[in-house]
Symmetry: C2
Subunit: 195 residues, 2 copies
């Protein structure tokens, strides 16, 4: 079993979301999809935005690195005008989706909207399209998204990420507590989970 | 041709220094060994230490990540008590070594002292051992290290790194200006250089 911690504001989480399902199925490892918010974690460092904005040179490099890797993997990549985007609503729906077993389809739809098409995932029309892509009733899950229990679930999950010393996304954690950070560590994380 | 930009305070640069020579010789790509100082670059962000100290959770993770990768590659790893170490003198000698064509042996000796044995590379005895490992006369190169021209060479090289938007180490840059950051991008950098 492997915990996949991801944040919708994270470009490299897009890379992992698009392949972790297939890679883990091939490896016979199950995945828990665990959306969380990186914002409250980075705020402790005094950062109110993405590390790619704090270090602008790193941000420019990240875009080029994403372009190259997406080209290698046949994935579309469009850097959205707003970065990082507000993924709060998407994360709330994703946590419900995770509880109900459809996180993979929904999460991939959100990342594709955001980083393949450059759409605004804070926009309700975009989220509605992602729910439809996952075969869900839009109104029903917009209602779930706004329930106090859902908000609390995401808050608790983000607190758990913080307690686990997660500092970035994507992060993979095995049952025995081994942490792997970054899409470039995904293969190692799966191999560790298989042992 | 590939420029290999490295900093002695960087653990991941150790990983690349130990393999870039062999990998590029196999690939028929030449390497320029380009030591520089990351300190002045990070200072622009208001950081007076390693990013692994700024983000302590990331620092703890980095140690574990290094342990795992070194184990995979059969490399020794000992996290030095002082981190990051002061690599100023080592970098000055390395830039002379680079001009004279013995940067690979010297650089590997310094990284092995620092991260395989956990020794203090600011210590002159340690640097003397590294010079001996590279078959050089210790007194002659200690003298070269302290010359104003050597100090200036390192300053100019660090300014060049800054002008290139280098924000971390190791960084690899191809002749056509493609940048790759991190030991996990070394294979891609070499493949790009081969095109």
């Amino acid at each position: 079993m492997l915990d996949f911690w991801y944040e919708f504001g994270s470009t490299y989480s897009y890379l992992s979301a698009m392949r972790i399902g297939d890679l883990t199925r091939e490896a016979g490892v199950s995945v828990r999809w665990r959306p969380f918010l990186l914002g409250p974690i980075l705020k402790r460092l005094g950062w109110n935005t993405s590390p790619f904005k704090v270090q602008q040179e790193k941000g420019r490099y990240m875009v080029r690195d994403m372009e190259r890797i997406c080209a290698e993997r046949g994935l579309a990549f469009t850097m959205p005008e707003t970065f990082p985007q507000n993924g709060l609503h998407a994360a709330r729906i994703a946590i419900v989706a995770s509880d109900e077993g459809w996180a993979e389809t929904f999460t991939k739809a959100v990342y594709l909207a955001e980083y393949a098409k450059g759409r605004e995932i804070a926009d309700k029309d975009v989220l509605a399209d992602c729910l439809k892509a996952a075969g869900r009733d839009v109104d029903a899950y917009f209602a779930r998204m706004s329930e106090p229990e859902t908000k609390e679930r995401l808050k608790v999950q983000t607190d758990e990420a913080m307690a686990l010393d997660i500092f970035g996304a994507p992060t993979f954690i095995t049952v025995d507590g081994e942490m792997f950070w970054g899409d470039d560590r995904l293969e190692r994380a799966i191999a560790w989970a298989q042992r």
